[in-house]
Symmetry: C2
Subunit: 331 residues, 2 copies
Amino acid sequence: MPELRKDPVVGRWVIIATEREKRPSDFKSEPQPVRAEFCPFCEGNESKTPPEILAYRDRQSRANQPGWRVRVVPNKFPALQIEGNLDKRGDGIYDRMNGIGAHEVIIETPKHEISLTASTPALVQEVLWSYRDRLVDLKKDSRFVYGLIFKNVGASAGASLEHTHSQLIVTPTVPIAVAEEMNGCETFFKYRGRCLFCDIVDQELSARDRIVMDDPNFLAISPYAPRFPFETWIVPKRHSSHFENIQRFEIEGLVTVLLTVLTRLEKALGNPSYNYIIHTSPFDRAELPHYHWHLEIIPRLTRVAGFEWGTGFYINPVPPERAAEFLREIG
Amino acid sequence: MPELRKDPVVGRWVIIATEREKRPSDFKSEPQPVRAEFCPFCEGNESKTPPEILAYRDRQSRANQPGWRVRVVPNKFPALQIEGNLDKRGDGIYDRMNGIGAHEVIIETPKHEISLTASTPALVQEVLWSYRDRLVDLKKDSRFVYGLIFKNVGASAGASLEHTHSQLIVTPTVPIAVAEEMNGCETFFKYRGRCLFCDIVDQELSARDRIVMDDPNFLAISPYAPRFPFETWIVPKRHSSHFENIQRFEIEGLVTVLLTVLTRLEKALGNPSYNYIIHTSPFDRAELPHYHWHLEIIPRLTRVAGFEWGTGFYINPVPPERAAEFLREIG
C-alpha cells in the first residue's frame, strides 16, 4: 500500500510508492528512454493492460477487444491505490495517511502514434470528453478531492511509453500547488472584486504582444512570467472554475487551439519533450467566482538546478514576447 | 539588463535572462553535457574568469595569479546584474523590476577535481568559510535580501562545467520557496512554542530509523517526507537561523558529515548528479527563534513529470527508512 506523508515544514505531501520500490542499484544507469518495441496501448493488445474503465467504441465491439477510439484503463503501476481507507494518523510531529486515490491512463488513439497532433480533431474531441467523463465519475467518491489531468511526452518529460496518452491522478487532499494557485486568485478577487484570469485575458487581448492564438472561445498566450522557455497557457474566455463544466461548443475551440499550439511547438522546437496539465478546481467546491480553469503546456528544454529548487525562482532565457512572436509567425 | 517578473497567480518571481537569450533553434539539440576540455577554473587559467572577488591564497601570491586554494569570481553569464537600481514598477495587473543581484562562483580547488570528496577536509573547511565570508559581505548592500548558496553536480543537475564549484545568487526579494519554509516554521512555533527543526532533531534521534550519520554537532537524516530518492538533510543540533553565524567548532563537524554523506551517495548510486542547497534566513532578519538553517542534498535520479508540476506532490519509490539504512550500512 503506498503511503502519503506530509513534509512538516511546507505542508507538501509526498507519495512513498512502495509498489514501485527501487533499490539503489536501479538508479546507477541513466533513466531509461521511452520504450518503443512492444506497445500495450495499441489496438489488439488490450489484454496487456488492466481491464478498461471507459472506452468510446464501435457499437458492435466488446469491452477489452479492438474497435475502440479512446480507451481509459487503470495504470498498471499506480502511484495511488483505489481500494481502502485513508486511515489518517500522526507519528510524533509528522502526519501520514494511506496512499488512496486513482491513477488512470487515457489511451488517445488505437494506432501507434507518438503525438496527439497526428490525430483528427474529431478524435481529440473524444479525448477531451473522456477527461470530463472520468472526472465526473470519480467526483462521486467522497474520499477524493482533486483530479489532475496531465500528459507527459518524451523521456525528459517523464514519459515511459511513446504511444500518445494522458494520465489522471486523483488525490485525497488538495495538492499544495493547487491550493497556492487558488489562494492567489482568491486574494486578488477579494482585493479587486474580479477574477484574475479574466483580467489576464483582458490585458493580453489589449497588449497583444504575448498572444500565440486568439480563438473566439480560447486565448493561447505566453504568460507574463513564464518559468520555462515557450511555456504556453490556453485560457477559456468564458469564466468557469471547473474544466468538467466545459460546454459542448467550447470543446471544438479547445481542440483547434490545442492542436495548433502543439503543432507549432513541435515545428519550432523539433518535437520537444513536454508536459501539459489542466489546472482546475477541487471536487468539493461549487462553481467559484475567483478561479478560472486553464491548460498549461511546458516544453522541457532547460534543466531545473539548485537555484530553482532552493528559491522557487526560475531563470528563463526567452522573453515571453519573443516566444509568442515566434509561435505566431511559424503558424 | 535581466528583468524580474512576478507571476500574478502564485507570486513566484521569474528572471527573464536577456543576457543569456536563446533562439528556438538553440533548444533543438539535447542539453549539452558538462564541458570537460578546456577548464577556466583550473590554476593557471585565472585570466579566463572575471577578476576574483575573494581568494584564500599563499601570502606571496598575487590576485588573479596561481597560488590560491579557494577562489570566488563573478559568474561570466550572471542570472542577475550587480549594478543598477531595482526600479520596481507595474504593468497593468503585472509587476516587474530590474534583475539586480549578485551571481558568484566559488571554485573549490585549484586542481581539476570533479568531486568535492577528492579534497582534503582542511580545504573543504575553507570552502565553507568562503560561503560565509561572501554572505557577510553581500549582506551590507541594502538592495539585497537573500543569499542562496548551492551546488550543481553533473549534467542532470544543471552543471555546465565539471571542475568542482558552488554558486551564490543574491536576490532583491525573499524567494517564494524560502518564504513558504519560514512561514511553515513560524506557524509551528506559534502553535507549539518550539522550533520545528529542533523537534525534528529530537524525534529523529529517538526514532533512529532515518539517521544517516550522528555527529556531536550535526545530524544527517533521510527526511520523513522526501521528494526524491536518497534526499538527505544535514541539520545542526544547535539552534541557529543563519548559516553565516556558524561557530568555528561547528565547521569541522559540518565538513566531516558533508564529505561522509557525499562519499556514501557517490558509492551507493555510482557518482550521481546532485544538487545541494543551504537553506538559511534572509539578510534583513536578526536571529530567529523559529527558523533553523540546514543543508539539503538532492540526488537527481528521477524525472519531474506533469503530476509533480501540476500538484506539488512528489512520487518517491524509496522509503526514507530504506535509504537511511542503506547509507548507514555502506559507510
